[in-house]
Symmetry: C2
Subunit: 162 residues, 2 copies
């Protein structure tokens, strides 16, 4: 199996695939008479289709063992999708560039506790992958009709290491 080592999650490294949602930056401005620093618009959702909106959901994800055997990735043609951890724990973020409708060799990132991500619309990505313990996440994605899921199963799985 081809082995892939997870890299540190940074806004710059993740930019081709989406946005990193974290406090590792300067606040943009203060609100509420100076009592709250706002880190503004770290992700902008993209939602396609009539009768569809951005929704806020919660997820309780069970953890995975490392090394992780990666057999599939998925993408959402009709909307972006953000996962923000509600506990300060790292999780694995796996993405892949597309080539003619097929994912290329995946790239893996390991988040720091507290970092969230927003996958841009139609970006191949792995499923929610907490490590060590089950974890709570906030999910910001498309709620609406239409087929918004495409899956790809690899002929040869990859082995993801951290």
């Amino acid at each position: 199996m081809i082995e892939i080592f997870a890299k540190k999650l940074t806004s710059e490294g993740f930019a081709p695939f989406g946005d990193v949602i974290d406090f590792n930056r300067e606040a943009d401005f203060a609100i509420n008479n100076g009592k709250c620093d706002r880190y503004h618009g770290l992700a902008i959702t993209e939602i396609i289709g009539e009768d569809a909106n951005t929704g806020v959901s919660l997820g309780y994800g069970r953890h995975y063992e490392i090394p992780l055997k990666l057999e599939m990735v998925e993408r959402h043609p009709l909307g972006s999708q953000a996962f923000i951890p509600l506990e300060e724990k790292p999780f694995l973020v796996i993405v892949a560039e597309d080539e003619d409708g097929t994912p290329k060799q995946p790239v893996a990132f390991l988040s720091e506790g507290g970092q969230g991500v927003n996958y841009h619309r139609n970006v191949w990505h792995g499923v929610l992958t907490p490590l060590d313990t089950p974890s709570k996440f906030l999910i910001v994605d498309r709620i609406g009709e239409g087929n918004n899921l495409e899956e790809h199963f690899f002929d040869n799985p990859y082995l993801i290491k951290i």
Copy 2:
């Protein structure tokens, strides 16, 4: 000063003003081959106007003293606004019904650690009000042009107690 005592935050009690985002309910369905329980669409954002989208932002809010002297509330005519705590700490949620463009006597709720809220579009509400310590929040609201803020200052402030 009129004293207002905060009530326990529940979906039912908060329904006239918005949505409660919490795990105190049944999961709607499982995703990721059963590895993740999804609490689906706890809030649906409402965003009005061309060139506007739902954005994901972060906030670092300084805490307030209790009892709280409430001198103003605000509302956003062009969009809903959600605040979800990134730490399991309670915060104060203050809202008011509208009457001919003016807020009526406010209603206060005290969240449990981990509960977030989504203020529906154009609902009068107090500013982000953590208690005891500064707190990190995720914010899901409108990013775009246009005047999306209306403030109301009370002639006679209220005193909010918990």
